[in-house]
């Protein structure tokens, strides 16, 4: 097998480390907006086999030979330095694409779950999924214009989250807000492991 892990290839070209962070939440919770606010965003097409779950929704009568469907995800890159890249993947908004998540979640550093307080139940599947997998996650309560504001604590209670899961108010349109969510996630990952990330030098 010619797959090896090293920092440089034989020609001396540096092979960076890529970290994967998922951005999840219900349809319209601000996933695309957040990925676009903090990173260079491009679409990524994945083509997946239609499952029984989607056969009900995709009308395939007359095209029974069709067995795959194309799903576009939001895909963003943040260059940390010449050794480390962070890739953001906006998980598909519809539940019927859950089968994509297993590949996405495999090896992920963690996830940001965006919650829309007007439709809080929409983020339940994401929270359930990451809890079951043991994937570290933070919850961002997206404060849409005109939406009634809830405290992070009331959202935590409504979602029945473990006490150590960070819950932050955010505005997915703001780069600063997205940054804070990602920083909270990385710190949460470090804390779960027992080595808090030291605070940045002032």
């Amino acid at each position: 097998m010619d797959s090896v892990r090293s920092d440089t290839d034989p020609a001396g070209r540096r092979v960076p480390l890529a970290l994967k962070i998922l951005v999840a939440g219900g349809f319209g919770a601000g996933k695309t907006t957040m990925v676009g606010a903090v990173s260079e965003i491009r679409p990524l097409q994945t083509e997946e086999v239609l499952t029984a779950a989607s056969v009900d929704t995709d009308d395939i009568s007359g095209v029974e030979a069709k067995s795959t469907t194309t799903v576009a995800m939001d895909f963003g890159r943040i260059t940390i330095n010449d050794e480390v890249l962070v890739y953001l993947f906006g998980t598909p908004g519809q539940d019927r694409f859950w089968f994509l998540w297993d590949e996405l979640a495999y090896g992920a550093l963690g996830a940001v779950v965006l919650a829309d307080t007007r439709r809080l139940a929409d983020c339940f599947p994401s929270v359930d999924y990451f809890e079951r997998r043991g994937t570290p996650f933070v919850v961002g309560v997206n404060c849409f214009d005109g939406a009634q504001r809830y405290s992070p604590e009331s959202v935590r209670a409504a979602l029945d989250l473990d006490p150590d899961v960070p819950v932050l108010l955010c505005d997915a349109r703001e780069r600063e807000s997205g940054k804070q969510l990602l920083i909270a996630l990385v710190e949460h990952v470090a804390q779960r492991r027992g080595d808090p990330v030291p605070a940045a030098a002032p």
Binding site: S3, D9, L17, L19, L44, Q45, T70, I80
Partner: protein
């Protein structure tokens, strides 16, 4: 029988989608030769001119060889080519088995990045 199709296809506008079915360029193959490619794996082309290019290569193979002169992740190759990840995996498998690219797998999923890396990520995010 119906008429032969004329030169004008009014239905063939942008809404019609791609006119080549995605897996046509892989000759219908859906499994890459030589195993899977993790989205976070990096691929890099061998030294230019270092190997004889087989004549069977599709234009997409050449595009991949051009953009993998520097190490690049599988996800980013798919995004730059604007092709489905499954198609790109098949094309990468061809290039890997022909010895034209090398693949660097990501660290094992159970292996968390060390403290130094997490700290660099936090610092990098703060500096954005």
């Amino acid at each position: 029988m119906g008429e032969a199709p004329g030169p004008h296809h009014d239905w063939l506008d942008g809404e019609a989608g791609p006119v080549v079915r995605p897996y046509a360029m892989t000759a219908g193959r859906v499994q890459p030769a030589g195993g899977g490619f993790d989205l976070m794996a990096f691929v890099v082309a061998g030294a230019p001119g270092g190997a004889q290019l087989p004549p069977s290569l599709q234009p997409e193979h050449h595009t991949i060889l051009a953009i993998t002169q520097q190490p690049i992740s599988v996800a980013e190759v798919a995004s730059q080519l604007d092709l489905a990840v499954g198609v790109v995996r098949v094309l990468l498998g061809d290039l890997l088995s022909a010895g034209l690219i090398a693949m660097y797998e990501p660290p094992a999923a159970a292996e968390l990045p060390d403290d130094r890396i997490l700290k660099a990520v936090v610092d990098g995010l703060r500096a954005l």
